[in-house]
């Protein structure tokens, strides 16, 4: 009683203003404990009262309860946490105390202690997160599979909390999901245990990364191959020695490799990683970052089924290269998706090996080689004798198919060779990027031809037909087959019609569709083969059957329609037959597909198959041939044949049991017992279609592959100025650039953006005109003289429109005197025109903003002129001259900001009238950025090339040396310019450069020496001299 009063008094003292009854209540509860604890609590309560009375009350209310479950040490910890929280926010602290009992009561003493430790740690950094973890802890722990793991996870969280509170709470939150996933995979392999150990190692090594690792687990471990994942953990823990970040990145990338390409590829790739890692963390970081994209690109290219094969192949080559040079290995791995777009693995290997030597010469050169930037690199890739590439014959094939069908197609590459032509969307033809099936190019081409002919056949023989009466009938047939109750058939169809109508109605344009009547009711709309295939109970299986039979139908119809293609079809068929697996090796669930394939596309089943499965083959053959072997078989016939085969598959169990035995003697009897396995087959069929068998290459919806391929773009363009977005109306062109050091072109290196010039005011032109009025009139006069009469009389012709009187007189005189006469008596009128097209290329770089011509002695009120303005004046005078003479001309200007942004302004195009609009554009010319001269010359030359004139001139107005961001040193830029000029000249254009750069004539000579050039000393005289120069050039 004494002690209770004491407690009461003390409480009253510290908790002034708290109701007596509350204090009474509290002291009752406190008093029920040992004295030591009571005073411990009283002491704490008193200190908390300093923050808030309510807080102290809450504490004192909860404390005796907590004390029931915990020892003194934990009570102290608990109190400390509350106090620390209170220092941030009393509300949080109050909540903490209020929730404490509910959280701690259900746990084991060890867990309580751990939780308190964890929250204690967290609370030092973030009160709110600490509270959150604390409140959710119990629920989470209850969700965890067992106590040991819970303890381990709490321990990990504690470890992480030393570095990052956020991460530790994240990990705690994810724990139930992740561990559940791990347990699912585990199967006694110790996966979960290893995963937790590794997480712990992460936590020790680098804190927060552990949480990221932990949360990545479910995504990375996505298949049930726990064995491989254990290997993955081992490797990851090795990487952990290099740092948490690298290890985490390795883990993520490795997961993608493992899941896409299997264990073998993974091991190879890891070896590569390790050799890269030896070069330091920056290198491995870069490599690991790039890897997932490379792997997914390769996967997309090969299609899911063949990805593993392809990636393994690539890594094998990379490994081989890596034995000689690690850098080369990494680079060629990076280049592999791009390279394999247009080359076979064999070519890729040769190419990769040939590049190694370049490192000895120059790293830069080697990098360019492996990035496939240099032309010789691309040539090497193609030149290696590795079969025929699609790239080299795509145009021929495209025209071939367009010729056969009269439709426009896109040809898209595939990295794997399909056994059957893919049934796509009727607009895109998917062909393998390389064919090396046969020793000679001609034979490889025949394979391409057959695949292309099949694609054309799909169009010509209407695989994609819609809404034909035959298809409608086929649809009804299919529905009838699978709706067992005959009365329901009509109902089902009606219901479907209704559904479709509703859908159509939703699509707004329903009015037309709805009103279309057919027979006694409304018909189903948009019936095509895929629509019908969806009606099968297992569309995947039906699709597969359909594909094979449809290919068979196309094959037959091609044979009926075109005599010539039979030779090629036979040739390829021969190959297909050779490649058929032995029928006894075919897995049972694939058996029917294999037989069907042989019947549909190989001209009948093999003798071996016939021996084993004679009866079913006869059946299949009858079905297939009776439907599709006719010169008029349509896609509907294929659908019906598909239905029949599908039914056979359902009724006729696969016969693997009997195949080992005595052929087909007991198949009839075994029907009953094996029907269950037939179901298994059909069920599995859908998976099989996505599986690994080469036959299953085909699926209707595989189009997604190709869209991914397009995304495969240059991976590592980081250091250069980025591509700027195009404005509306812009057109982009790509040009090669000459690299002096490589002695080779960098392909498609510069992007030239062509855009209409900005409009300024006409004032500039008018001012120039009035300023040069005298000069202009004399220029006009001179140029008009240049203009030839369109008809010229030619005398002394053998034949012509009229007699030449002089010649006739001479003729008569000659005849009378010598008897020797000249027959050339006629005058002929000949048309002769000036046939000149000229393009002016104006340097608009910012260096043209320089002012020249102010005489030092003249006052500043009379400023000089900017070079660009002088150039513009030159253009004005030139256009006067050109209008007078009537030559075709164009005016362009250019600036550049790095190789991706060479801007090419069209001031006046060939064939465009010299109008007020053009005058405004001249007025609008202004200066900016740099001078990537080579690209601009190439683009102008491309414009001139289109002109039919006999003389083509390209006049370049520049103020000096070319320069741009990534345009190398001056020498590089000069060499590129020189090369561009040389190219232009070879293509029949006469370039001429007018420059006002006075310094470094040697360099100018080097750059322009091969073509004509002139240096204008007195810049101000440029406008007047320009027409003169032009006249000299063209007469």
């Amino acid at each position: 009683m004494d002690s209770k009063n004491k407690i009461n008094d003390t409480l009253k003292k510290h908790l002034k203003g708290v109701a007596d009854s509350t204090i009474e209540n509290l002291s009752d509860r406190l008093g029920a404990q040992s004295v030591e604890r009571t005073w411990l609590m009283m002491d704490f309560g008193a200190s908390l009262a300093g923050y808030s009375l309510r807080l102290a009350v809450e504490f004192l209310r909860a404390a005796p309860e907590i004390a029931k479950y915990t020892d003194n040490n934990d009570v102290r910890k608990w109190s400390e946490i509350g106090k620390r929280l209170a220092s941030t926010s009393t509300d949080v602290a109050i909540e903490f105390f209020q929730s404490s009992v509910a959280v701690l009561a259900p746990l084991t003493p060890a867990q309580r202690s751990q939780i308190l430790d964890l929250v204690n740690k967290q609370s030092t950094l973030s009160a709110s997160i600490a509270l959150e973890s604390f409140r959710s802890a119990t629920a989470i722990i209850k969700e965890l599979p067992n106590e040991a793991e819970a303890n381990e996870i709490l321990e990990i969280c504690y470890e992480i909390a030393r570095h990052s509170v956020k991460h530790s709470s994240d990990l705690l939150k994810e724990a139930p999901v992740v561990t559940a996933h791990l347990h699912k995979l585990d199967g006694g392999s110790g996966l979960t245990d290893k995963a937790l150990k590794l997480t712990m190692a992460f936590a020790f090594r680098s804190g927060g990364t552990a949480a990221e690792f932990f949360s990545a687990l479910p995504e990375v471990l996505s298949t049930d191959d726990s064995g491989s994942y254990l290997r993955l953990f081992e490797h990851t823990s090795m990487f952990l020695e290099r740092g948490g970040g690298v290890a985490l990145q390795y883990f993520r990338a490795a997961g993608i490799v493992l899941n896409n390409a299997g264990l073998n590829a993974f091991e190879r790739w890891t070896l590569l990683c390790q050799s890269v890692a030896a070069q330091g963390n920056a290198a491995s970081y870069h490599f690991l970052k790039a890897s997932p994209k490379i792997i997914t690109d390769l996967t997309a290219q090969a299609g899911k089924q063949k990805a593993s094969e392809l990636i393994n192949g690539v890594l094998e080559i990379v490994e081989e290269v890596g034995q000689k040079n690690t850098d080369a290995a990494v680079e060629c791995f990076k280049a592999s998706p791009q390279a394999l777009h247009s080359a076979s693995l064999q070519q890729f290997r040769e190419w990769a090996l040939r590049g190694i030597g370049l490192y000895a010469k120059s790293t830069r050169r080697a990098q360019a080689y492996y990035a496939l930037e240099s032309k010789s690199s691309q040539d090497t890739l193609q030149a290696v004798d590795g079969g025929l590439t699609l790239e080299s014959i795509a145009q021929t094939l495209r025209l071939y198919v367009e010729g056969l069908t009269g439709r426009v197609f896109v040809i898209a590459p595939l990295t794997a060779i399909p056994d059957e032509a893919k049934i796509g969307d009727g607009r895109t033809i998917h062909l393998p990027s390389v064919v090396a099936e046969f020793p000679t190019e001609a034979e490889n081409f025949r394979l391409y031809k057959v695949l292309a002919a099949h694609a054309a056949g799909q169009v010509e023989f209407e695989t994609y037909a819609t809404n034909t009466p035959e298809l409608s009938a086929a649809l009804t047939d299919v529905i009838q087959t699978f709706v067992t109750d005959p009365r329901k058939v009509a109902q089902t169809i009606e219901q479907k019609i209704k559904e479709e109508q509703e859908r159509a109605a939703n699509q707004k344009d329903s009015s037309k569709k709805k009103t279309r009547q057919n027979g006694n009711g409304t018909a189903l709309q948009n019936i095509d083969f895929s629509r019908i295939l969806r009606e099968f109970p297992y569309p995947g299986v039906a699709t597969r059957i359909f594909a094979t039979i449809e290919n068979g139908r196309i094959d037959r119809r091609l044979r009926y329609a075109y005599r010539g293609i039979r030779r090629d079809l036979d040739f390829v068929r021969e190959r297909l037959i050779q490649r058929r697996p032995s029928i006894t090796d075919v897995p049972p669930q694939m058996l029917l597909f294999e037989l069907l394939f042989q019947i549909a596309l190989c001209g009948g089943a093999s003798d071996e198959a016939r021996m084993h499965f004679g009866k079913i083959i006869t059946l299949l053959e009858d079905t297939v041939e009776s439907h599709i072997n006719s010169p008029t078989a349509s896609v509907a016939d294929t659908v019906i044949a598909t239905l029949r085969v599908y039914e056979m598959l359902e009724k006729q169990p696969d016969q693997e049991q009997s195949k080992e035995g005595e052929g087909n003697e007991n198949q009839q009897d075994s029907e009953g017992e094996e029907s269950s396995s037939a179901d298994a087959t059909t069920g599995e069929g859908k998976d099989a279609a996505d599986g690994t068998d080469p036959l299953s290459f085909w699926t209707v919806d595989q189009l997604s592959d190709s869209s991914q391929e397009e995304k495969t773009s240059a991976l590592f363009e980081t250091t250069e100025s980025p591509e700027q977005d195009l404005e509306p109306g812009d057109k982009a062109f790509y040009y090669d650039e000459w690299d002096r050091e490589l002695s080779d072109y960098r392909t498609k290196w510069c992007r030239v953006i062509q855009r209409r010039s900005t409009r300024g005011s006409r004032q500039f032109v008018e001012k120039t005109r009035s300023h040069y009025a005298g000069v202009i009139s004399s220029i006009r006069y001179q140029f008009q003289l240049l203009k030839l009469e369109s008809l010229r009389r030619v005398y002394n012709e053998l034949d012509g429109e009229d007699f030449d009187l002089q010649s006739v007189i001479q003729y008569i005189v000659d005849r009378r005197t010598t008897g020797k006469v000249s027959e050339r008596l006629y005058i002929r009128k000949l048309r002769r025109e000036r046939d000149v097209a000229v393009g002016f290329l104006l340097d608009m770089s910012s260096s043209t903003a320089r002012t020249v011509g102010r005489h030092p002695k003249q006052p500043y009120t009379k400023p000089g002129q900017r070079i660009i303005d002088i150039e513009k004046e030159g253009l004005v005078l030139m256009s006067e001259a050109l209008e007078a003479v009537g030559d075709a001309y164009a005016m362009y200007g250019f600036t550049s900001e790095g190789r991706h942004n060479v801007k090419f302004y069209v001031i006046k195009e060939f064939g465009e009238q010299y109008s007020a609009e053009v005058e405004r554009r001249i007025g609008g010319i202004s200066y900016q950025n740099n001078t990537r001269l080579g690209a601009a010359i190439r683009h102008s030359a491309a414009h001139l090339q289109k002109e039919s004139a006999r003389t083509k001139l390209l006049i370049i107005l520049s103020d000096g040396r070319p320069y741009d961001h990534d345009y190398g040193d001056t020498r590089y830029a000069r060499e590129d310019t020189k090369m561009a000029l040389r190219q232009a000249r070879i293509s029949g254009i006469t370039p001429f450069c007018i420059t006002i750069e006075r310094e470094g004539e040697d360099q100018l000579k080097d750059m322009y020496g091969e073509v004509g050039y002139t240096i204008i000393d007195n810049v101000l005289s440029l406008p007047e001299r320009l027409p003169g120069i032009y006249r000299r050039l063209t007469t």
Binding site: I393, Q395, T396, L397, R398, L399, Y400, E402, G403, L404, T405, G406, V408, K449, A453, Y562, R563, G564, I565, R567, D568, G800, E801, D802, F803, V808, Y811, L825, K829, L830, R831
Partner: protein, 268 residues
């Protein structure tokens, strides 16, 4: 003597022609009403053959002038030539046609020079006269005279387009390649080959015509198909006949040639 000279322009036997629509009736009506006719259509689709056939139907001589860039007015109307001591006037083809009431057919009229084309203007309206400047006379065309020009819109070059003032003087008949059945009959008959082979050739023709606009300026003409057929009938293997008569003439582009070759080997 003049009469005999014009006789050589008469069609002695019926040219083989399959009418595809009502073009013969239209032509006859135009002749009756003295309207000039313009035949439009791709090269080698049978325009010339049609005129020959119509000349035979109307029993008129047919004088054909292939127009070219340097074809002058003198070339059409006539000129003085020195013959011994004399200068003798020689009628040009157009003058001959007018004098004899023949059908004058100016093939590929766009090719002719603009100043030459103007010359036919007075002949093509209701005046129907031909002024012969050098002789100082004006010839009036008899009722039987008819002017026919052909024009291939496929060229569509800006330089070579007929002026509206010229175009609008003609009744215009559109021609196109014959239908498949007709073309098979034509190729079989003209080329002297059996129908199956003719069918193959026509199928090739159809496929190659699909390429028009995708690289080919113009599809392969019926004439070329007939050439191929004629070569085949003389014992040349079908494939090489097609290559020399179909593939090579229509394009120089290597890839295109290869595509066409593949089409040929697909069909034959």
């Amino acid at each position: 003597m003049r009469e005999q000279a014009i006789e050589k322009y008469k069609q002695t036997h019926e040219p083989f022609y399959i009418s595809t629509a009502n073009e013969t009736d239209l032509f006859l009506a135009a002749h009756k009403t003295k309207l000039p006719v313009m035949l439009k259509g791709p090269t080698g689709c049978g325009k010339t053959r049609f005129v020959e056939y119509m000349a035979w139907r109307l029993n008129r001589p047919l004088i054909t002038v292939a127009c070219h860039e340097d074809l002058s007015a003198t070339d059409l109307v006539g000129r003085y030539l020195l013959e011994g001591e004399d200068t003798v006037w020689h009628d040009g083809p157009l003058t001959t046609a007018v004098k004899n009431g023949a059908i004058c057919y100016l093939d590929e009229v766009v090719e002719a020079r603009k100043d030459t084309i103007v010359l036919i203007h007075p002949l093509t309206d209701d005046r129907r006269i031909l002024p012969v400047e050098k002789l100082g006379i004006i010839l009036e065309a008899p009722d039987e005279f008819m002017l026919v020009v052909s024009y291939n819109p496929g060229y569509q070059s800006v330089v070579k387009d007929l002026k509206q003032s010229t175009r609008q003087r003609f009744v215009s008949l559109e021609f196109d390649y014959p239908s498949v059945t007709n073309e098979i009959a034509i190729v079989a008959r003209e080329g002297g080959i059996d129908e199956a082979t003719a069918r193959d050739l026509v199928v090739i023709g159809q496929k190659v015509r699909n390429l028009k606009g995708h690289g080919l300026e113009e599809g392969v003409s019926t004439r070329l198909l007939v050439y191929a057929a004629q070569l085949i009938s003389k014992g040349i293997p079908a494939q090489s006949a097609c290559e020399v008569a179909i593939m090579s003439p229509i394009t120089d582009d290597n890839e295109l040639q290869r595509s066409i070759r593949e089409i040929i080997t697909t069909v034959i």
